[in-house]
């Protein structure tokens, strides 16, 4: 099953309220996915030359400061960290790929959730309300946010197996469905593109596929069009980039999807009921996205 939700604000007016508007959307999808929840939020841009890396460690006593010191020494970098539950956002002016590799090698239980100028991904096992509360989602500001409530089918109920997945700078993907050819694509991306995978999850493969297309110069819109050629299985995807938001359903349209649009926002959900608390929803254009059709918003989409 699984529930997916997304909210993309067109202007700046509602940005202070992004988390408050989005939290009930995520929580409403609890019936569709009570095992774990997560969200990718785009906010608080890192200053020029810096990058934000969101990382997770299951041990509350983990010493993030020791990790930051390690980055400082290794790269002679300026490093800051802010903590949020089991996650920390490490902002650094060190070279991104090297920093990511350094963090991943620092301690085996340390996992990187996302990296980029704007993106932060938070995800945990447990009910969506608990996950939202744990990270203070309702108080967060930002331009867009994509979330997922998971009912696990393809792989274990773990933090790493929760969505969203991110495999490139400022990219996130959530997925409702199950892919049938992800093993082949994973192998292809590993062998021919040198990509690394952290889980056995099918969605991580789709995210890696999209980031590979983006790195080849495709737009987010174009990368999702490519998915129709190469990915097999059931999927409703919602993807985010620094300033893009896009939706795609497979040709069979097996998994539900509904979009709502006003002058202020674009909202996506697995079911309409996730929209009911959004402002002006009574006058929004509400429709079901067509199968095999990419819908995208934003400059980079």
């Amino acid at each position: 099953m699984c529930g997916i939700v997304g909210l993309y604000l067109k202007g700046t007016r509602l940005r202070p309220e992004l988390g408050r508007l989005f939290t009930p959307m995520l929580v409403e999808m609890t019936d569709r996915g009570p095992d774990s929840a997560g969200f990718a939020i785009y906010h608080e841009p890192a200053e020029r030359g810096f990058i934000k890396i969101t990382a997770f460690h299951p041990d509350p006593a983990f010493e993030w400061e020791a990790l930051c010191d390690h980055i400082r020494v290794e790269f002679n970098a300026t490093v800051r960290d802010t903590h949020n539950g089991s996650h920390a956002v490490i902002t650094s002016d060190a070279e991104p790929a090297g920093t990511v590799a350094l963090i991943e090698g620092f301690e085996s239980r340390l996992q990187i959730m996302s990296s980029g100028e704007l993106i932060e991904i938070y995800k945990e096992t447990g009910l969506p309300q608990d996950v939202a509360d744990q990270f203070g989602l309702s108080g967060m500001q930002g331009s867009h946010v994509v979330g997922h409530t998971r009912m696990a089918t393809e792989s274990a109920v773990t933090t790493a197996g929760s969505h969203p997945f991110s495999t490139g700078l400022d990219l996130c993907l959530v997925h409702n469905g199950s892919l049938s050819n992800h093993n082949g694509i994973r192998e292809h991306l590993r062998t021919h593109k040198g990509m690394h995978f952290k889980t056995e999850n099918d969605t991580e493969v789709a995210a890696a596929y999209i980031s590979d297309r983006l790195s080849d110069g495709r737009s987010l819109h174009g990368a999702l069009e490519d998915c129709l050629e190469d990915l097999d299985g059931f999927y409703t995807f919602v993807a985010g980039t620094k300033d893009g938001f896009a939706v795609l359903r497979d040709p069979i349209a097996c998994k539900p999807a509904v979009l709502a649009e006003t002058d202020d926002y674009v909202a996506f959900a697995s079911e309409y009921r996730a929209f009911v608390d959004l402002p002006n929803i009574a006058h929004a254009k509400v429709w079901e996205p067509e199968p095999e059709t990419v819908y995208s918003w934003g400059e980079q989409a």
Partner: protein, 233 residues
Amino acid sequence: MDIQNITVLDLEEMSLREANVALQADNGSGRSRPLRVLNPKGAHALACGLDAPLDIEIEGHTGYFCAGMNKQARVTINGNAGQGVAENMMSGEIWVKGDASQSAGATANGGLLVIEGNASARCGISLKGGDIVVKGNVGHMSCFMAQAGRVVVLGDAGNALGDSLYETRIYVRGKVAGLGADCIEKEMRDEHRDELRELLDRAGCNGVDVSEFTRYGSARQLYNFKIENVSAY
């Protein structure tokens, strides 16, 4: 709450179950009365299992299976309907003023489902005798394995229309992206023009010219096992 003899059920003030209990209270009584449901908020399984000639207006978008298993009641949804609206309807009328999601009217045995907007995939799947009029388009795999009843589409139809069709008659005014297995275009005879006219009238489509429609039906080639296929088993 009653306003001018209209019973109002507000889902801001009562639970979905309380609303459904109130809607089903007249089942079997033959009682006819008007009701309004406010703030449905996309709730699932609203106004299901009714069995009385009620006149119900739902003010807003509904979730899955709205007015499922309906008998006798006339239910109007002033909004969009989620998956499976009017599924397994036995009699009565369901009007969707907006769009309907997937599997609208699935397995309906009787009654009339009118969708003023578009219906998405699998509209009228396994239809068993009900009638469906869609004023917009229908999505792919509509009328899949549909057995009886009539489906009228004033707009276009998606891929694989009428796949593995039995005896449902399909009338489409617009383009058909593709026909499913064993579904073929058929001749429009007077009896078909008459039944199409009657269905359009019941759906409030006055002034629509029946000659603009094409009839589709079963080629009846998949009905029986063919002995030459025995080697496949």
